[in-house]
Symmetry: C2
Subunit: 104 residues, 2 copies
């Protein structure tokens, strides 16, 4: 079982798209801003401020980055990068568990 040791965890949830996407923000022991979240099946668009590393812990998604015409599929234990000040479209095929790292 993968346990993130000694993190500072924000108690209240982040709730998006009427609860179809929810997450918990935390700062890890290296001072990195991250969140753990759940996406229910559906299609969403997310904007970024900082660049993001999206790790898929479980589930299946298709992702199209802003400015691209290509949809790429990601499943458990794969990840994708999103540039800063950009956005991505995501088609969530099955309930998806993810970890997002905000890159300083």
């Amino acid at each position: 079982m993968d346990i993130l040791k000694s993190v500072d965890l924000v108690k209240k949830a982040n709730i998006y798209f009427d609860g179809n996407v929810t997450s918990r923000s935390f700062v890890d022991s290296n001072g990195e801003d991250k969140s753990l979240g759940i996406m229910m099946p559906g299609e969403y668009n997310f904007g970024t401020n900082a660049a993001e590393l999206m790790e898929i812990l479980d589930g299946e998604v298709e992702v199209k980055l802003a400015g691209s015409d290509t949809w790429n599929t990601y499943t458990a234990d794969t990840s994708f990068d999103v540039p800063a000040n950009s956005s991505f479209d995501i088609k969530v095929k099955t309930i998806t568990d993810y970890c997002c790292s905000y890159i300083k």
Copy 2:
């Protein structure tokens, strides 16, 4: 903003009722087992092993403990206790954010 300092956070989500209830387990800095979760509107039944303290962070639920005929309403900043080795029925009226403490 309420931040839980220095917790050990399990990375993978707990997913119940086809994703309508999801949570993240962690051990707080006092060694207490807890979870932060989200319940989508609907009706659910949960069993308990250890006794539980359920804190409603946001949202509205009605709860009926096993052996009781009474439904009680809980909203943000209220909580209810569930005995060990028992269960409770819950009607989730709005998307509900909660913290569950497992009492040793």
